[in-house]
């Protein structure tokens, strides 16, 4: 029987396999940030251990960093202490740093691909559930907790068991104005937040193959929101073209050897998936969430659902509680929902293509009177690139706030938060209660819907907009 892509990558990294024990799996790249690592470094010190492979480890500051007053020390003393702990720990153990303000700093899942550190066929982990992002390159990438961060620091391995295999096949072409974000929100709405539990998801089909690397990252990023620890896409010419010339991509003969190995990374024709989901790309429209988990999403043309319409009792209870928290009434058209804040950014949608799509819609337009829009690039490099292209000027001319790089309002560990009762349209990945600030209400959207929503102040599809000057 053939193997899936994920099974091939897994098997290539088995260090040790013994009956009755989990496999020991080698980790090619360990990404570290300030929130989930301090206790791991303390653990190393307490046990007299060291970091086995600092040369396969990369750190950055992202969750706590402010996006304004970038040159001042972090005002929140607790946030500052956590960032300083990361600097001390990584200096002590010889790990590469990306301090605030330097070009390499940014959201951990943006900088890995940007530096060319994320490559096909690798195993990649980070103490962060959105590590699945790196699966866009055909890597097996997943989030871990702090105990496992310590395990990887000490041994460059993890104990693992093979996951179940799921295929999400999307054939056809995405309609104009429909993006990777809409696609993944539709997938999660279809299979639910537990649908991928215990599985690795491989996204396949012509619609997926037609996507750029950044769009592929958006899809793999939210695999965790479908309950899967990892999601991945077979590498192809698009992948190789993205990687060629990046700082850590192989060169010369090494490049040829790497590409030859990468071309082998595809699911065999006779491989068997434990579960298969098929989606017709042409049927998709912009998706938005109405509830408090990422599976509670609908096409933007729909209305807030009636909890009584859910057959399953637990879905019904979840919908009731979501509507109460979100302050929504069943039957309200989603397009009638007004928002206070639009957030464009995060490891889901904080890359240059996301900023370009939003800027194109905002060019010559203005953010609605009672709405604020935050634009937070995923990394300093993305910020610089956007500024070279003049996107920052488009955003500021439209009345949006052009900020520094980081996780920002995706989870509000820095000062970028919603006030209680405030409502956002957010290009991030989680609409959990309080995720963007205590009492804040989140609607997950694509960058294009975010921009269109900023202009009208209500949830809006890009196709709804009257062109500037018309």
């Amino acid at each position: 029987m053939g193997q899936t892509l994920a099974q091939k990558v897994y098997e290539q990294h088995v260090v040790r396999r013994t009956e009755g024990e989990p496999d020991l799996l080698y980790i090619d790249l360990h990404l570290v940030h300030e929130v989930t690592s301090p206790q791991a470094f303390d653990g190393l010190r307490a046990a007299g251990r060291t970091v086995r492979r600092p040369d396969l480890t990369m750190s950055t500051e992202d969750h706590n960093v402010p996006t304004t007053n970038l040159l001042a020390p972090i005002a929140d003393p607790v946030s500052r202490a956590q960032v300083e702990a990361l600097r001390t720990n990584t200096a002590e153990f010889g790990i590469r740093q990306a301090p605030m303000g330097t070009r390499d700093q940014g959201i951990v899942h943006v900088i890995g691909p940007q530096l060319g550190l994320t490559q096909p066929g690798m195993t990649i982990v980070c103490g962060d559930s959105h590590t699945s992002t790196h699966g866009a390159f055909g890597a097996l990438a997943f989030g871990i907790g702090t105990s496992e961060v310590e395990h990887v620091l000490a041994t460059q391995t993890l104990t693992q068991r093979p996951a179940k295999q799921m295929s999400v096949r999307v054939d056809g072409e995405l309609p104009v104005g429909v993006s990777a974000k809409d696609l993944i929100l539709a997938v999660i709405a279809e299979i639910g937040t537990g649908g991928g539990q215990g599985h690795v998801i491989e996204y396949r089909g012509s619609a997926v193959q037609g996507l750029s690397m950044e769009s592929r990252m958006t899809i793999c990023n939210m695999s965790i929101e479908a309950g899967a620890r990892a999601g991945l896409i077979a590498p192809d010419e698009t992948t190789f073209a993205y990687l060629a010339g990046r700082e850590h991509a192989p060169t010369g003969e090494d490049w040829d050897a790497a590409v030859a190995a990468w071309r082998e990374l595809r699911t065999d024709d006779d491989a068997v998936f434990d579960r298969e989901v098929v989606i017709d790309a042409a049927s998709l429209t912009p998706y938005v969430t109405w509830g408090t988990n990422p599976g509670q999403g609908l096409p933007i043309g729909a209305a807030v659902p009636d909890p009584a319409s859910f057959a399953d009792e637990s879905d019904r209870a979840a919908a009731e509680s979501a509507l109460a928290y979100m302050g929504l009434t069943a039957g309200t058209p989603l397009r009638d929902i007004s928002v206070d804040t639009v957030f464009l950014g995060s490891c889901t949608n904080g890359r240059i293509e996301d900023l370009r799509v939003a800027a194109e819609l905002l060019r010559g337009q203005h953010v609605a009177a009672d709405t604020r829009m935050l634009v937070v690039p995923g990394s300093v490099f993305v910020k610089q690139q956007a500024e070279e292209e003049g996107l920052d000027a488009v955003f500021t001319a439209a009345g949006a706030e052009w900020r520094g790089a980081g996780c920002s309002m995706c989870l509000g560990m820095n000062p970028d938060q919603l006030a209680p009762g405030e409502r956002s349209a957010s290009t991030s990945n989680r609409n959990f209660q309080g995720r963007q600030g205590k009492g804040g209400r989140t609607h997950l959207v694509s960058p294009a819907v975010a921009a269109a929503t900023a202009i009208t102040g209500k949830l809006t599809a890009p196709a709804d907009l009257v062109p500037a000057g018309a």
Binding site: V15, G94, R96, T155, T159, G194, I224, P250, F432, G434
Partner: protein, 197 residues
């Protein structure tokens, strides 16, 4: 990690599905750099905003077994969610289904996660609602949860069970195989990326 063999305590019913780790402990409580002291963030939004929330009810103040709805622990990989439950006095969480990373973290942090069939979870929730003083025993040796006259068996792989029963440090176990890791590293392709020059 503390060893876990068997635990008897009272149980609190958390009749909610999809309890994500942002509800278990919100991001602003993750800034602490120690491994303990996370109880102040445990379910803090619900404890603050909902007077009737189960953990605000005095009869459940001493509960050490949490009996939750399906898909408990979704979302972020923060092990702080496990630590917050432990710091808040819980030794066991019972649910019909857990998110993968939360469950995996629990096997490292010493919080026992037990999957029971949905009907048994419901029955246990009913029982501890009817009598909040009802003793519930979670027996990792026998792989059983016992309350009143009920016994519900659960599955756990033998290796993880052994590690929990002994309270063994994962890293120490892996370090027995350093030769295998050395050999694997020697065979890795030279073009694989390195972060340092």
């Amino acid at each position: 990690m503390d060893a876990f063999t068997t635990h008897t305590g009272t149980a609190a019913p958390l009749r909610r599905s999809n309890v994500d780790t942002d509800q278990i402990i919100p991001a602003e409580y993750l800034k602490r750099i120690t491994r303990t002291g996370f109880e102040d963030g445990l379910f803090v939004a619900w404890r603050t905003n909902e007077p009737d929330f189960v953990l605000n009810q005095p009869q459940y103040a001493d509960a050490s077994v949490l009996v939750a709805g399906p898909d408990f622990g979704t979302g972020s990989s923060r092990e702080h969610a496990n630590w917050a439950l432990l710091d808040g006095g819980f030794r066991v969480v019972i649910s019909a289904r857990f998110a993968d990373i939360f469950r995996n973290n629990s096997t490292k942090s010493g919080l026992l996660t037990v999957v029971l069939p949905p009907a048994d979870v419901e029955a246990l929730q009913d029982a501890c609602e009817a009598d909040p003083t009802l003793p519930v025993t979670v027996d990792l040796v026998a792989k059983e949860v016992r309350w009143a006259d009920r016994v519900s068996g659960f599955e756990i792989d033998d290796y993880t069970r052994w590690r929990l029963l002994e309270g063994l440090d994962d890293i120490g176990l892996t370090e027995r195989h350093l030769d295998d890791i050395d050999a694997f590293e020697a065979a890795r392709p030279s073009w694989k990326p390195r972060t340092l020059a």
